[in-house]
Symmetry: C2
Subunit: 193 residues, 2 copies
C-alpha cells in the first residue's frame, strides 16, 4: 500500500536497524485517515474470506482492526488482553506470546464465550515480526475450534521470520507494507500492488 510505505519512509524511525518506530501515525498517535484507508484496503482484500469476526491483540492493532471490521460490514471485533483483569469472571482462553521488542513472555486472553466453533476469524495486527503475536492469536482461535481465514498486517518485517511460520500453517498472510530489509538506516520494501 503505497501511502503506508511512503509514510514509513517519511516518518518512521529506525533504531539500530532492528526496531522500527511508527509512533507518530500508527502507535501512540494514530493517523485516523490513514488507518481508515488501511481498514478499507484490508476489507477489500479479505472481502471473500467469509470472516465472521475480527481478532486483534491490545493495543496498537486495535484502530486498524476496528476500521477493517467496520468496512467488512460491522463485524464484531474481539481483542485479546495481555493480562487478566480481576473484573473477569469468565473462563478464558489463553496463549503465550513472547514479545520481540520487550523480551518478555505475555499471556494473552479472551473470554471463551467470544470465540466459538464454526466462527471464521480474521486476524488483524499492526506489526508482524517474529510472528509470536499472530501465532498466539491463532492458538486462541484453534483452542476455540474456530477457523482462521487470514492474517492482515499493517507493517511486516519479513526478515524476522513471522510470515514463514504463519504460511507453514497454511495461512494467507497479507501485509500493507512488506519490509524485506532494514540496514544502515535504510528500509527496503517488497512492493505489491
Amino acid at each position: 500500500m503505497k501511502i503506508l510505505e511512503e509514510r514509513i519512509l517519511k516518518d518512521g524511525l529506525l533504531i539500530e536497524d532492528r526496531i522500527l518506530k511508527v509512533d507518530s501515525f500508527l502507535n501512540f498517535q494514530i493517523d485516523v485517515e490513514l488507518t481508515d484507508q488501511m481498514g478499507r484496503e484490508f476489507a477489500r482484500i479479505f472481502r471473500e474470506s467469509g470472516a465472521t469476526k475480527v481478532l486483534t491483540v491490545e493495543t496498537s492493532g486495535l484502530p486498524v482492526a476496528y476500521a477493517t471490521a467496520k468496512y467488512l460490514g460491522d463485524l464484531p471485533l474481539l481483542f485479546a488482553k495481555k493480562n487478566k483483569p480481576n473484573t473477569n469472571i469468565d473462563d478464558d482462553l489463553a496463549a503465550e506470546v513472547k514479545s520481540f521488542t520487550k523480551e518478555v513472555v505475555n499471556l494473552i486472553r479472551v473470554p471463551k464465550k467470544y470465540l466459538n466453533p464454526g466462527e471464521r476469524v480474521l486476524i488483524i495486527d499492526d506489526f508482524l515480526a517474529s510472528g509470536a503475536a499472530s501465532l498466539g492469536l491463532l492458538d486462541l482461535i484453534e483452542q476455540a475450534g474456530a477457523t482462521c481465514v487470514g492474517v492482515g498486517i499493517a507493517v511486516e518485517k519479513e526478515f524476522q521470520g513471522g510470515r514463514a511460520l504463519l504460511e507453514a500453517k497454511g495461512l494467507r498472510v497479507v501485509s500493507l507494507a512488506h519490509i524485506t530489509k532494514m540496514k544502515d538506516g535504510q528500509i527496503e520494501f517488497h512492493y505489491t500492488e
Copy 2:
C-alpha cells in the same frame, strides 16, 4: 444515548452492585456499529469545541475515541500507554492513575512531542467512575501547556464521584450513558436527550 442505555440493560453484567461488565460490546468484544454511532454522537456534541486532537488511554476507550476522531474530521488520535515500552527513546509526559477496578497505581505516558502548547484536546474514554483516568489525562494535557476542551465518556457511574472532580476543574463532561445508581442488581440512568 438511548441505544447504549438499552444495550447496557440488555447485555451489561452487574457484579456486587459495584462493577459493570460490558465485555460483550464495549470491552473485549466491540460492537463496531454501536461504537461508530457513539463516535458520531460525540462528534456532534463536541463539534464546536474547536478540538484539534483526541486523547484516550489504552485500551478499551480506543475504538470509541477512534470513531470520534474520525467524525470530527480525521483529527489525530493520541493514546496514553500504561507502562513505558523499551522502544521509546523520547521524553515522555507521565501521570499517575489509580485504577478503580484493579486497585493498583499505573503510570500513564505519552511522548512529549505529541502534546504541545496551544493544542485543544478532547478526552474520550469508555468509563468514568472515580475520574482517576480522566484526571491523569488532564494532567498530561496541562503538563504540555495544552487545553482540555471537554471529556466525553461512553458509560459514566456518577455515584463514584468522577464527574464532580472533573467539573470542579471547569471541564465539560458528557456521558452517553449516565448511571446514577447500581443497586440490588438494578441500574438507573439519568436520561438525557
